[in-house]
Amino acid sequence: MLRFVLRRVLYAVPSLFGLMIFTFLLIRIVPADPAAALAGDNATPQQIADIRHQYGFDRPVAEQLVLYIGQVLRLDFGESQYSHRPVGLDIRQRLPATLELTFAALLLAIVVGIPLGVVAGVNHNRWPDFVLRLFSITGVAVAAFWFAIMLQLLFSMQLDWLPLRGRTSAGAVLPPELTGSLLIDSLIAGRLGVFWDALLHLIMPAVTLSLGALATIARFTRAGVLDTMQKDFVLYERAVGYPRRRLIWIYVLRNSVIAAVTQVGLLFGALIAGAVVVESIFDWPGIGNYAVQAILTADYKVMLAVTLLVGVVYTIVNILTDLVHGLLDPRLWEQL
């Protein structure tokens, strides 16, 4: 197992290195001049030229790339061109909010998606199956921003049950930051009021973000269940009168979720990418929102750092997914 982990980590290094170079070149290839954007309204050509020189934009691209790689290897992502704050600090402040949202969405997708898939699978071609199929197509097809606005209209505007935007209510006094998760930190601090407030703020963004993932997991679980139900051991267990509920929810499920677990790894990346839209709509203070601002203001150091970060998180989650695969089916250790 240790050898497997080391091998996967080693494989990840060139991937991340490639991502770092590719994103850097991609941003530099665009025929844009960040100095002009930075100079702002009314700036003169001389001012723009001065800024270009000050930030080193007038140096050869290869030289800029070497400098950039050196910085990243020292975990120095530079500073935002606008706020002049270290990008690393800004990301550290915002990442917990994104991770909380993403994990909440993933948890929701798994907790709801897997049972839905099982129910649909064991009721093949009956109404629960038809409903799930309709739901999974809708879940994947529906646009997140549309769904988010519908939720806002219903639960914030009509029913007044859930807050419209943000991570906490105005004036909320936050607990000391230990894990970065507001839910966990408020529980540790025994601040149930903050926990409840944070939970209410989390519901709509998490539901919106989870929709596509939930539908995908349900669909893959359903397919897995249908396949497993045809296996000899299931026929045997049924023949000897093994309790149906136990058979399905333990043995069939365990053999059916491998494909869904693979999807969890892939979906995590999609969820982080999807957080860009969801965070913007709900004004969720995470890195998705940060990335959107960086794009709108052409703050390229932030764009590079966020892209690389998403790549690192995605890689880690994929390694973890492979580990879970191995735990579910130890034969896979040798193949992976």
Binding site: V30, P31, A32, D33, P34, A35, A36, A37, L38, A39, G40, D41, N42, A43, T44, P45, Q46, Q47, I48, D50, I51, E79, S80, Y82, S83, H84, R85, D90, F145, I149, Q152, L153, S156, M157, D160, W161, L162, P163, L164, R165, G166, S169, A170, G171, W196, D197, L200, S280, I281, F282, D283, P285, N289, V292, Q293, I295, L296, T297, A298, D299
Partner: protein
């Protein structure tokens, strides 16, 4: 389905708990604004509508624009004098003005402010650079500031409100490698304005809290129920911003609302739309160096193909006034006898045929970059695309961001064929519009991104800039505008009527074209 009384009670309690925690921003002393925050809090580093609004609340100026139509009002200065040759300007300061740290604001602080502005050399300094050097600003005594200009400069007095006075005693300890405290000031505040930043509340582009500065020099006797705290909470998406206004968790939106949202707010009972004529022009740029736009007939064809009336009446629903020249129609220097180009597809076809006969490649696909995420620019582009298609022009729309457009328009070869944007008011002088848009000395800046060159226009605009009296300057701008319109380098659509969603509990909102009414000190909240 049967629900027991106990279950019903639990559900009802849950619902009530939900409602209780979703309380709106109804604190009568806290104003929650959805205006965007500037990307940087230093008034010497950023110049845009957001930074102007920020500056109006956190900082003070020698003179300030107030009201609509805007008038220059003495602010930190009580008066000013100017020498007969227009080169030496003396501003007499009010005594006893205090910065947020309690120290007195004196002439030395104004000198430091302007020297810092010039040394940092970003956009807010641009209009001053041709006429001021660090040694041109002096303090003959504790309460007099003297500007000695390198040459007479017509827009100078109008530019004075762009200077937000900063406190050197707060900044200097944070200076790093001779950066004039630029790094620190990007996330902090060192002013004397009506509201002061609570530094721990600030998260760049996300939130900032400001509290009322009780010792502000203007005093608060004119507004006994003044707002005690401003919570700056920008909403990234228009629909969320408007919903927040309607459910009472936000008191004010931005002033770029699309028409459907305006109608929605108009129908609500707890908010309204403030409509104010302003000085913000919507312009479609044509890159005059790229074929077919290097051909005047092609440019005129495009100018005749935009449905000005349809766009203003049907899409913007009358929240704009047709403005056929690159000067706001409520600004002096506006040539009243210029009608500009009308929407006439037959004429557009004629000019297109002439351009084709001249050898201009009018059949090639034309790219128009459209600013995201502003809905009006998208709507205008789609309308234009449809009309151009009917005369055989293939217009392709490319989504883009303002930052990138500013960036790529720094060179003629990377400037798009066409793009669309607004030009807002930063100082109320024709130079802010026509001067910086069509004088070739500004090539390389986004405002001059049509790359128009006409030596006669350059000479006129330069002469107007270096003339001091308004009566003498106005005819020069009028003449320059006529020549420019005849050359048709761009397509001028309208002067905007700003539409800002405001909660009904907000009283005392005062609009001004500079800052779009974002100055909170005049407002209070009804219970």
């Amino acid at each position: 389905m049967n629900i027991s009384r106990r279950e019903f009670g639990a559900l009802a309690a849950t619902a009530l708990a939900f409602r209780a925690t979703c309380a709106a921003a109804s604190d009568p002393s806290v104003f929650v604004t959805g205006m965007d925050l500037p990307a940087n809090l230093d008034p010497a580093q950023i110049l845009d509508v957001q930074s102007t609004q920020w500056g109006l609340n956190a900082y003070d100026n020698l003179y300030r624009y107030e009201g609509n139509p805007a008038e220059m009002r003495p602010w930190l200065a009580t008066e000013h004098t100017v020498s007969a040759d227009g080169l030496v300007w003396n501003f007499k300061l009010r005594q006893g003005v205090k910065f947020h740290d309690g120290s007195e604001l004196t002439a030395d602080d104004v000198v430091y402010t302007v020297q810092r502005l010039l040394a940092i050399g970003r956009a807010p300094a641009a209009p001053f650079l041709p006429i001021l050097k660090a040694e041109s600003i002096t303090a003959p005594d504790r309460y007099t500031v003297r500007f000695t200009l390198a040459q007479t400069y017509g827009p100078f007095f109008g530019m004075i409100p762009m200077i937000a006075v900063v406190n050197p005693r707060v900044i200097k300890p944070h200076e790093d490698n001779g950066d004039w405290g630029a790094k620190w000031m990007a996330s902090n505040e060192a002013g004397s304005g009506a509201y002061k930043l609570l530094p721990e509340s600030y998260v760049p582009l996300e939130k900032a809290d400001l509290e009322k500065y009780d010792d502000h020099f203007v005093g608060w006797s004119d507004n006994a129920q003044a707002i005690k705290k401003i919570e700056w909470r920008p909403a990234k998406v228009t629909s969320t911003r408007v919903l927040a206004l309607l459910n009472g968790s936000l008191d004010m939106t931005d002033s770029f609302l699309p028409v459907d949202q305006v109608e929605r707010i108009d129908k609500s009972t707890n908010a309204h739309v403030a409509k104010n004529v302003t000085m913000r022009l919507l312009v479609i740029r044509m890159n005059n160096t790229k074929p077919p736009f290097d051909n005047i007939n092609a440019r005129k064809a495009f100018a005749h193909a935009f449905n000005y009336g349809g766009f203003i009446d049907e899409i913007v629903k009358g929240n704009a006034v047709r403005d056929p020249v690159p000067i706001p129609n409520n600004m002096w220097g506006f040539p009243k006898d210029v009608t500009g180009y009308d929407y006439d597809l037959a004429k557009a076809k004629e000019y297109l045929a002439k351009a084709a006969a001249d050898g201009a490649p009018v059949k090639r696909p034309i790219e128009m970059h459209v600013q995201q995420p502003l809905e009006q620019t998208v709507q205008a582009s789609q309308l234009f695309q449809s009309d151009l298609a009917s005369i055989g022009v293939d217009l392709k729309l490319v989504n883009d961001t303002f930052a990138n457009l500013v960036s790529i328009s720094s060179k003629a070869e990377t400037t798009p064929d066409m793009w669309i944007h607004w030009v807002s008011a930063y100082y109320l002088d024709p130079d802010n519009w026509i001067g910086q848009m069509y004088d070739s000395r500004y090539h390389g800046t986004w405002k001059a991104s049509c790359w128009y060159t006409n030596p006669q226009v350059d000479a006129l605009l330069s002469k107007a800039r270096f003339t001091i009296d308004q009566e003498g300057r106005a005819p020069m701008y009028e003449q320059a505008a006529k020549i420019i319109v005849a050359d048709s380098p761009d397509i001028w659509i309208y002067n905007m009527i700003e539409v800002c969603g405001i909660s009904n509990r907000v009283q005392g909102f005062k609009h001004c074209p500079v800052g779009s009414g974002g100055e909170v000190r005049w407002m209070h909240l009804s219970a």
